[in-house]
Symmetry: C2
Subunit: 85 residues, 2 copies
């Protein structure tokens, strides 16, 4: 599966969420990560996120069957995922 | 088509981008909008966004063929799209 993760968490938790997501996915833009995950990885990521995130925070994980979208960029693509080695 | 829009724009342009997106899509979370668009609407939205957005900003439009994702929420879903009338 392919996931797009967007998050809106309070400032004292942002670094921890960012660090955790970086171990599974690519940084795409401020508060946005993307990448391929297995079902097991998604389950584990959700479990680890729920230990950090509080009720007033919001982390949304869009789970797509595969990478089936066209990406339109206006302005700059701050982290072209394709060029990440 | 179904689109997910995420944006990271400098503070002096955020309101204009937010207002424009609100005329086409649902607000989902801080800097995230979603919704159904026709090809013509997507073309027009991109044209109008490019008049506001500068090179250092970043607006990403994920164009999906249809709404074919599972949404996992950790914390709060700040604007349940389904309940918007």
């Amino acid at each position: 599966m392919y996931v797009i993760v967007v998050y809106d968490v309070s400032v004292e938790r942002v670094n921890r969420v960012h660090k955790l997501l970086k171990t599974y996915l690519f940084w795409r833009q401020n508060s946005v990560f993307e990448g391929e995950l297995t079902k097991a990885q998604l389950y584990e990521l959700k479990r680890r996120l729920s230990k950090i995130v509080k009720e007033e925070d919001s982390v949304l994980i869009y789970e797509l069957p595969y990478k089936n979208f066209n990406l339109h960029v206006i302005g700059t693509d701050k982290s072209p995922v394709e060029t990440v080695l």
